[in-house]
Symmetry: C2
Subunit: 332 residues, 2 copies
């Protein structure tokens, strides 16, 4: 069977099935980040996130600094999803030897800025010459024992909530597809800003983790519906999402109007919004939303956790929606 | 200035100069691995090591399992150089979607075997579809406080020593260049084995670190002379290497005879031998060599540390050798 038939997640499942256990590896393959017990008062959290030119980004519509920031923010978002605090960021960079050094410094400067925006630092990496630009960003962070947020804790009767708003990346990609870089430049500022400079939800993630009231969490990098499916799978539950409750990012409605597209589809199946998706008891929504507001971020209930498996999405009339195939599967 | 003019190490110096400090990052850019203080009884050590098809390896003369093992061993070697013990290995993999899943599993199986050979486990990573195969291997390990081995501790009057033997990778690459994959297959078993299945010196590194008698250390990945230059630079000393004392790997002399080449040149400037290069007081050589012998590995004095800067190499007659430009510089 080819990787394209097995799919990214099918292949990862196969690799995970063969991985050995280790007394210091508390969580291995299958969550936003691995959790290690290296003996200190806090657990160590590690994530890696690869970004290849032509697959994840194009330098035709983003500056090198924006590519660096975005790659850093994507990896830091995995740390936020664990309820952890980042300490050190590493980057293996493949860059063309005929790049001006200033261009390369600009790219790494964007990554460094993303790290420093959440009190972490660029602490190492690797550097190679290659035609295709690629960045593999690694973040090491820490989380107090018992506060780590996993995908696996959702229970029937709980609700599903998201921080912030969704759909901006979907809108930006639709603009690029329809009109190229110029269309993105002319887009509502909020859409372009969310696309090129996403903010990892470190403060919100730490606050949610410290509350002790979050049952499961992950970040939305593959699209709301697909990522909800990861929580459903790891928790052994079913999830129903009510499309009308999904908070749409500023500017998306305008872009959708211009393109004759549907902003809700971007919010449901577009990837890389880098918000947090959490499961929690219904009576915890109000206190946690108040707490999230302190971090100047909304917390919105978008669905419910049930017995069963998989994810279904209901429209405003309570009818199950047929969704276009969406979300990211790198081999599918 | 282009990256090709600035060179890999010139560029890394520029990035390091702009990196911020962090109270938990004890060693950042510029050593074999970063050293973090996450509050436990041991320090945390992190390295990343990128391997791109066509730059670092070719699947024409190595099996997928060998590519995976070698990528893992190279990253683990950085952990050995810090005197640390590896815990968890991560790999961001770029693989073609039209690869059979079995081929991809074989590659990751090689990496997993390298990790397990030193009691570490594969604990995560990232997976993307890409034409060019690439692996970025990350290792997280730990070392008791005060036992971390750095490049910066060499002092005038000390000697420079290497574990094991050098030159096998240089011989293997010379065979490939002269006669392609068939020539490597027909090579002395020891040469091919060292090339496709290098062993990270974790046990020797831990023993040397625990002795408390090693002043500076790194692994030989860019070539003996170039890597000695890194110790000289970070320690603020000069180094003299005596070529006649460099231990040559089994089989290299035969290959050199067949090709009309010089095995000493491979040992001096060939890269990726993955032995440890250490600086230590002269009177510590005998006890440490005895200790290294327990790990079934030799420890050979190859030179001396002096006041000054840079590295010079003396031939058997004590004359300074003119070396061909060698060692790895990815942009140079």
């Amino acid at each position: 069977m080819l990787l394209s038939e097995l799919g990214e997640f099918g292949f990862i499942d196969r690799i995970a099935a063969r991985a050995s256990g280790h007394p210091q590896v508390l969580v291995g393959i299958g969550d936003d980040a691995a959790v290690l017990d290296l003996g200190g008062p806090e657990l160590t959290v590690v994530t890696t996130d690869a970004h290849f030119e032509g697959r994840h980004f194009s330098l035709e519509h983003m500056s090198p600094a924006e590519v660096g920031w975005r790659a850093g923010a994507a990896a830091l978002s995995d740390i936020a999803a664990m309820g952890a605090r980042p300490v050190a960021v590493f980057c293996s960079c493949a860059l063309p030897a005929d790049w001006p050094a200033e261009r390369a410094e600009e790219l790494l400067g964007g990554l460094r800025s993303a790290a420093e925006s959440v009190s972490a630092v660029l602490a190492g990496g690797d550097m190679i010459s290659n035609r295709q630009v690629a960045l593999d960003v690694v973040v090491v962070g820490s989380v107090p024992r018992g506060q780590e947020l996993l995908r696996s804790g959702a229970r029937p009767g709980q609700v599903l909530a998201v921080t912030g708003t969704l759909g901006a990346t979907g809108a930006a990609l639709a603009l690029l597809q329809a009109g190229g870089p110029d269309a993105l430049t002319a887009a509502p500022g909020a859409v372009r800003e969310r696309f090129v400079r996403p903010e990892p939800r470190i403060v919100a993630g730490r606050a949610l983790a410290a509350s002790g009231r979050v049952a499961a969490a992950m970040d939305i990098s593959d699209g709301l519906v697909q990522d909800a499916g990861h929580i459903a799978g790891r928790s052994g539950v079913g999830i129903t999402i009510e499309a009308a409750r999904v908070p749409i990012a500023e500017g998306c409605a305008d872009v959708a109007g211009d393109l004759g597209a549907d902003a809700i589809a971007w919010a449901l199946t577009g990837g890389e919004d880098f918000e947090l998706l959490i499961a929690l008891d219904r009576d915890q929504v109000e206190p946690l939303a108040a707490m999230a507001a302190v971090a100047e971020i909304g917390l919105t209930v978008v669905g419910s956790i049930e017995e069963g498996e998989g994810v279904r999405v209901l429209d405003a009339n309570g009818r199950e929606m047929e969704l276009p195939r969406g979300g990211w599967d790198h081999f599918g």
